[in-house]
């Protein structure tokens, strides 16, 4: 029996995550549609539940009930299996994420490498999905997205290597602790690395402005064309889980995991009170809006949401109010840590959405050119830059604030140089004479 | 107008002004030559429109109407050529490439054959359609029932 004991807590926690994930993914979709609407001078889904809060559940039910069409000439086994592969790959990657100091399914010694390896399996799901549905459009879409994933994984990997140099360890927990010791978040130390990772992660999750594979205007939804109903929902779930995974890697690596901003300086301790206050604010908003809802059940639901927020606020206040050294106080780091981690993931995903609505779509060849000729060399230079600054700091004992900005400056110069040369042959026209091209700033 | 008369003499049928717009009626067989002349010397570099009008009662049934426009002189000219029932005419596609689709449409609607056209097929109606709708003898309610029944499966033809 005792052999099982060490497994109980991770398995339990894994079950919680796997159960919650579809719900979380659904609500991310809702938030995306709301933010998109807000940016486009409209309201977004309002009909199902107060302010459209029940929309994800309605979507899920609809998708479950939809007729599951399998094209005649499709390869049955692969058609059935492909979405499963991509969903499992996405969910497996969640295992090593440090939501909080205690909430971590498995503190693997090779945490980050594990996440990278597993998420690269996601390509199979997409590629096989395109092949199995046996239509010209979906095959083209599948090949394109596979090529895109492979090429942007290299630059994402190099950007992560840059940050790992600073952290010194691969285990995700270790990285966050390294950041808390150093007192700096790695985003300030390796900003170029963060920028490259941001761009590469957008490309890796097939989101705009790199969403070539499911570009509506040409390939009619890429590899997902033939899927419908529940299978399509699986692909969608995989995409959003990937987004969460990528956002949490960024949060762990660059934004200091579960640490409160300015964790060490005493002056900013009032920030501890921010999470409960935020929750109370949301609860107040819900209660004020509840009576104004048109339908009775929506009123009730709005009130329930308000109640939920109050409970959350209580949980967050509890470790602060209780006397310093009691057992409950020690759980403060855990609960607050979780809040801050999810907060950072949320901000990162908001940036994803923001980019999605402002930028038009890259053409596929521009996408690949940007990937290989600009991002990959830049990330290599970034790793060298960090290496130099680390060497200066550790070997020659230059003070911190001199060596790191120097490293960043070196990377930026190289980046600018790359950008200028990169622009020359931009137009793939057949028989195109050499046009003069004004270097367009980044 | 006078320059045209001097240049082509016999070929020019009549030159008249209808509602202050210059019209030249020419013999159909000299069409290509006059077209090239009007583009090169007279700088009518824009073939605005090419269409046909069906006068069933006359023996030269169709008159082919070309509307030209000169960007430089800001002038319009309309050349009309009279054509018999199934009398082919030379294509002006070589002079103005835009005539390609315009001639295909006139062929589609009136049945006038243009010799030397790159791919003279029906432009708007499906290839297998019988009959030329814009002819006066083609009744407005008439349809190619055979094609409709065979392709769209509508029995009544309406």
């Amino acid at each position: 029996m005792n052999a099982i004991m060490p497994y109980v807590f991770p398995v339990l926690f894994a079950l919680v995550i796997v159960a919650l994930l579809p719900l979380v993914a659904g609500y991310i979709v809702l938030v995306e549609r709301k933010v998109m609407a807000d940016m486009q001078v409209r309201l977004g889904p309002m009909r199902v539940g107060p302010h459209g809060l029940l929309q994800p559940i309605a979507d899920a039910v609809k998708l479950l009930l939809k007729e599951d069409i399998i094209p005649e000439s499709a390869d049955k086994l692969l058609f059935w299996g492909a979405p499963l592969i991509s969903v499992t790959a996405a969910m497996l990657a969640l295992a090593a994420l440090p939501i909080g100091p205690f909430f971590q399914i498995a503190d693997l010694n090779i945490g980050l490498l594990y996440i990278l390896g597993i998420s690269s399996l996601g390509i199979f799901g997409i590629v096989l999905g395109g092949w199995a549905s046996n239509s010209h459009y979906s095959l083209m879409g599948a090949l394109r997205s596979a090529a895109q994933l492979v090429s942007y994984e290299t630059s994402a990997g190099m950007a992560i290597v840059g940050a790992l140099l600073l952290a010194g360890t691969l285990s995700t927990r270790g990285i966050v602790e390294a950041q808390s010791e150093a007192g700096w978040w790695f985003i300030f130390v390796a900003p170029v690395g963060f920028f490259i990772y941001l761009v590469a992660s957008i490309a890796e999750t097939n989101r705009a402005p790199f969403d070539m594979p499911e570009a509506e205007s040409e390939l009619v939804a890429g590899y997902m064309t033939e899927y419908s109903g529940f299978r399509w929902a699986l692909y969608f779930l995989a995409e959003y889980t990937n987004m969460v995974v990528v956002a949490s890697i960024a949060a762990t690596l660059f934004l200091g995991g579960w640490m409160r901003p300015f964790a060490n300086t005493r002056a900013f301790n009032f920030l501890d009170y921010l999470p409960p206050l935020l929750m109370l604010g949301v609860a107040g908003y819900c209660f004020r809006r509840a009576p104004k809802q048109p339908v009775a059940v929506q009123k009730m639901f709005m009130a329930a949401v308000g109640l939920l927020c109050i409970v959350l606020a209580l949980i967050l206040i509890m470790p602060l109010a209780v006397p310093r050294d009691s057992f409950l106080a020690s759980s403060k780091a855990g609960i607050h840590g979780a809040f801050w981690f999810l907060f950072k993931v949320g901000v990162y995903i908001y940036v994803f959405m923001w980019l999605r609505f402002t930028f038009p779509r890259y053409r596929f060849d521009q996408l690949m050119r940007l990937g290989w000729q600009f991002l990959v060399p830049l990330s290599i230079v970034n790793v060298m830059g960090i290496g130099v600054s680390l060497a200066l700091h550790r070997q020659l004992h230059w003070p911190n604030w001199v060596s790191f900005p120097l490293g960043v400056a070196l990377t930026l110069i190289a980046g600018a140089f790359l950008l200028a040369t990169g622009e020359k042959h931009e137009h793939p026209r057949v028989g195109d004479e050499e046009e003069e091209e004004t270097p367009v700033h980044a | 107008m006078k320059r045209y008369k001097a240049r082509f003499g016999g070929a020019i049928g009549e030159a008249l002004l209808d509602r202050k717009q210059a019209i030249l009626v020419i013999a159909a067989d000299r069409l290509l030559e006059i077209a090239r002349y009007s583009r090169d010397e007279e700088h009518f570099d824009l073939l605005v429109d090419l269409t046909a009008v069906d006068w069933p009662k006359r023996e030269k049934r169709f008159d082919l109407v070309l509307n030209l426009y000169s960007l430089r002189k800001n002038e319009r000219l309309r050349i009309k050529a009279l054509l018999g029932e199934n009398e082919p005419v030379a294509t002006v596609e070589s002079v103005w490439p835009t005539a390609n689709w315009l001639e295909r449409e006139v062929y589609d609607m009136f049945g006038i054959v243009f010799e030397g056209h790159s791919n003279l097929k029906r432009l708007l109606l499906p290839e297998a359609w019988q009959g030329h709708p814009l002819r006066k003898d083609y009744d407005i309610l008439q349809q190619d029932e055979a094609w409709v029944r065979e392709n769209l499966g509508i029995e009544s033809g309406q």
């Binding site: 486009q40 064309t225 053409r363 | 209808d18 835009t98 499906p126 499966g153």
Partner: protein, 395 residues
């Protein structure tokens, strides 16, 4: 067709499907490895602005050749014209280019007035000019929204439609209809201008300049937008003239020609406005030209509102129109290009022949030349930049 056994109905429909190949599904694809693929951007394709089918011959990703199959929306407008009286035919004209119905109506009414050698009163001409310029802004807004959507920018569409809504409200207040307005009569106007027409137009025009700057900020300097449009679908000046292309597409190639300046009609000769032109006739220049045209139209509207002359709104035109036999060709500057009407009358109340010169059809003819050597994604951008409306192409 799912697992059900194909009944009679399906058999014929599959027959049709083979002939009219739905988007992409049953594509006459040669084996993937072979060099040439025929890809169908079928009639129901999300970005072909209506029922247009383009058969693309691809070498890998590059377009080698293309052939447009049109005629899906052919309603035989010209045949109907021969069986309707002059006034009865006016509403049909709005249904052709349904995005810019007012300018179609203007073209037709002015052509018939020219046929009957009747002049519309000054008040009617000024109000016609205001409404046509508003319609041009609305048409360009709709073009900008859908064009940006095709290339992937989701937000501009809603900004443009928000402005277009203002204009459609003005039309609705004036003549009760938003889209197919049938606002003009032969010889003048149908309705007197409602009293706050000037105020509404002024409010719209005042705010509009700031709006166009908004679009500029969203797209013009946007590096991805420039990357996707610069140097795509190049049409040199003489190629454009040879292909008979007119309107913003011609002006973007550097040819300074606009019927409103060359042969002023309605009240355009009273207003001062400039004609924007581009240099190298690529998608980016067409975008800049149309954006500038919107600004110019706004300028015209503002000038026109200052002095709308008083007086009658309908010329000396009887109930029954019997134009003297003869023919006339009259063209106006529609948002898409030169919209011409060639009307032949034989003295009866019904026109003998009405030929409509569709700018979209002739601009579409240049498509094949513009997309050679480009990628599939660019074909969508070029179709968007030509601003074609299939109702007008097929008539």
């Amino acid at each position: 067709m799912g697992t059900r056994k194909p009944g009679h109905r399906e058999r014929t429909i599959t027959g049709v499907a083979d002939r009219y190949n739905a988007a992409g599904t049953n594509v006459e694809t040669t084996v993937l490895g072979a060099d040439e693929i025929i890809l169908n951007m079928g009639p129901q394709h999300p970005s072909t602005h209506g029922v247009l089918r383009v058969k693309l011959r691809l070498d890998g990703e590059k377009v080698v050749g293309s052939e447009c199959v049109i005629g899906y929306l052919h309603r035989g407008v010209e045949k109907i014209a021969e069986h309707r009286s002059y006034q009865q035919f006016a509403p049909y004209v709005d249904r052709m280019d349904y995005v810019a119905a007012v300018s179609n109506g203007l073209g037709y009414c002015e052509a018939v007035e020219k046929l009957m050698q009747v002049e519309a009163p000054p008040r009617a001409r000024v109000i016609r000019t205001i409404l046509t310029e508003l319609q041009r802004i609305a048409s360009h807004l709709f073009w900008l929204g859908t064009h940006a959507l095709d290339i992937g920018a989701l937000t501009p569409l809603f900004y443009c439609l928000r402005e277009r809504e203002e204009i459609l409200k003005i039309f609705e207040k004036y003549c009760g209809a938003r889209l197919t307005t049938h606002a003009f009569r032969i010889g003048g106007l149908q309705y007197e201008a409602y009293d706050e027409l000037e105020k509404d137009t002024e409010r719209f025009c005042k705010g509009f300049d700031k709006r166009v700057d908004e679009y500029e900020s969203l797209l013009t300097e946007n590096r991805i937008w420039v990357g996707r449009t610069k140097g795509i679908g190049i049409l040199t000046a003489d190629a454009a003239i040879a292909m008979g292309v007119t309107g913003p597409v011609l002006r973007a190639s550097g040819v300074q020609w606009d019927i409103r300046k060359a042969m002023p009609y309605a009240a355009y000769d009273q207003y001062e406005f400039s004609i924007p032109t581009g240099q190298n006739g690529d998608t980016y220049d067409r975008y800049v030209v149309r954006l500038e045209e919107m600004r110019q139209s706004r300028k015209i509207c503002l000038q026109a509102i200052e002095n709308i002359p008083a007086g009658p709104i309908l010329g000396k035109v009887g109930k029954v129109l019997k134009p003297p036999p003869g023919e006339v060709y009259h063209s106006i500057e529609a948002p898409k290009g030169e919209l011409g009407y060639y009307i032949v009358s034989d003295g009866t109340t019904q026109p003998y022949r009405v030929r409509i010169r569709p700018p979209s059809l002739i601009n579409l003819e240049a498509l094949d030349q513009m997309i050679r050597g480009h990628l599939v994604a660019d074909v969508v951008a070029v179709i968007g930049t030509l601003d074609i409306v299939l109702g007008e192409v097929d008539r």
